[in-house]
Symmetry: C2
């Protein structure tokens, strides 16, 4: 059996990087020639976690072939979020916690999705099912993913199963989850070394919602005004992306990690339909979404319903 | 939480019926109001297994709504193989061992697919993960599914994991797997009470293979000539189905359960491309496929490759 790449999604977040490393390690222990890779820049938050627990970032790739013929997806399944040559390789496994869309295979595969807050929670089960011990530093990465995806355990996506996994990982890693977690989130919310171009790409995901092409970028901040004060420049950038990609909607979401609200900047021809769905009125293209921190659970389902008649 | 239907695919085989019953039972034990249902006629083989282990057939439904809002799929995921009102209900779980295609959700869900020979093998793991004991009669049904999907353990789809599950189920059920299995397969291959219309629908599945619309029906027989001697009538029926459904290809596969070969009757505009893919020449629209017993592993992947340029 040849080498297999284990990859998270484009514009990787901490769960995508941590899960690629953690699952590749597990697969290696049970005999697979697996290598964790990434398809995008490591963000500040993830860089903090990697350094804290003594890891190098996985190798950056754009395409999987011809180096490998088979890949494993973690933390995503939608084709447009994956490697550029998705159609030229075979997906042999998926471990994920998102909806399933734009994903199809010719052959049976191993697909493990659970409606939990973080891929790491599922990986914790897989380690147990294979009777492989989670090393201290891998547990640290998995804890980092849990903290990141739940905004320090406060997101509505965070389930009881995630809590159990977080407790186990914190114990294995030997860190205080709340203290370490706040430091990690602050490192991620430090946008001082980021250009606006960086912010737009940092954690952006494209979705095909019915017939609408939507991109949603999310940025965590300690002070949302650090970002919003640059709104005019930001809009210029986003309009350019909308035009280049032919998007129907771009949502730029700035999440206040201390108060757990988000400011959304909505542009594109479906912006009004989107804001109506959230029951807010856009003023100068922006609105506050009270208590909204989760793209997956609080934004995508609302848009899916709102855009169901788009042709 | 309202009632949830657990259903296998249309034209249900033994795995679809047995897995619906077995998984509904497991979900009931862990607190879900789950009911096994079926979306098609129970075949002779399944009827034999149900009676042997003391079960009634699950209730026949066509649509899930408005009785339930949520469903669980076992042994399939492709929309066209499922309930007629698939788009009006929410799929909250899938337990399956097929490729993933024509399946999309708005929300995260529990999706457990493994590349094994039978859904029952995965259910055996799920019982263990939930620490629920498999009752003797449920074990008998799960064994029946394993025997059915593997043609008494001889199909290339039958993995080591399936073998382990079959051994465990035979022990729990207290039957001799080979003896019981041959009796069950023979009951299924007894086509004496079946009309040709029955045979065409008995175990037929529709596939969207690239742009081609394909239907593949499979019938097990002790003597393939029992079926093939009626080829002219059969062709009349199949041409009618092709016209009504706008199919590009209909493969009618008669599998010799004692010798493990199949005779294929191929009709429709892609028949030649299909036969070329199997490296056989159609004579009077038929050919022998030596050693072919598995639609999933030995037919669908070959067709997928052969029809990849169909527009």
């Amino acid at each position: 059996m040849g080498k297999v790449f284990v990859t998270g999604h484009k514009n990787p977040d901490t769960d995508s990087i941590a899960s690629a490393i953690s699952y590749a390690y597990l697969k290696q222990q049970i005999g697979m020639n697996a290598e964790a890779v990434r398809i995008g820049v490591v963000n500040n938050e993830t860089a903090y976690a990697l350094e804290y627990f003594g890891f190098e970032a996985p190798r950056l790739i754009e395409k999987a072939a011809p180096e490998v013929a088979e890949i494993i997806l973690v933390d995503h399944n939608e084709k447009q979020q994956s490697v550029d040559d998705f159609d030229d390789v075979r997906v042999i496994e998926v471990v994920d916690h998102h909806r399933i869309a734009n994903f199809e295979t010719n052959d049976p595969l191993y697909y493990r999705a659970e409606p939990v807050g973080c891929t790491a929670t599922i990986l914790n089960k897989l380690y147990k099912e294979h009777n492989v011990e989670i090393p201290k530093n891998i547990a640290g990465l998995m804890l980092s993913a849990l903290i990141s995806d739940s905004l320090l355990f406060k997101s509505p996506t965070f389930t009881e199963q995630d809590r159990v996994a977080a407790d186990e990982m914190a114990t294995l890693a030997g860190v205080d989850a709340l203290e370490y977690g706040l430091d990690m989130l602050k490192a991620g919310a430090d946008l001082s070394n980021k250009t606006l171009e960086d912010l737009v790409k940092l954690d952006a995901k494209e979705f095909a919602i019915n017939e609408a092409k939507v991109e949603i970028a999310q940025v965590n901040a300690i002070d949302v005004n650090d970002v919003m004060k640059r709104q005019p420049e930001l809009e210029n950038l986003l309009y350019r992306v909308i035009a280049e990609k032919g998007l129907d909607l771009f949502l730029f979401v700035v999440t206040d990690i201390l108060n757990n609200d988000s400011i959304v900047l909505a542009l594109g021809k479906e912006a009004d339909r989107a804001s109506a769905a959230f029951d807010v009125t856009l003023v100068n293209n922006t609105a506050t979404l009270k208590g909204v921190v989760s793209r997956k659970k609080q934004i995508v389902p609302v848009l899916t319903e709102a855009l169901k008649d788009v042709e």
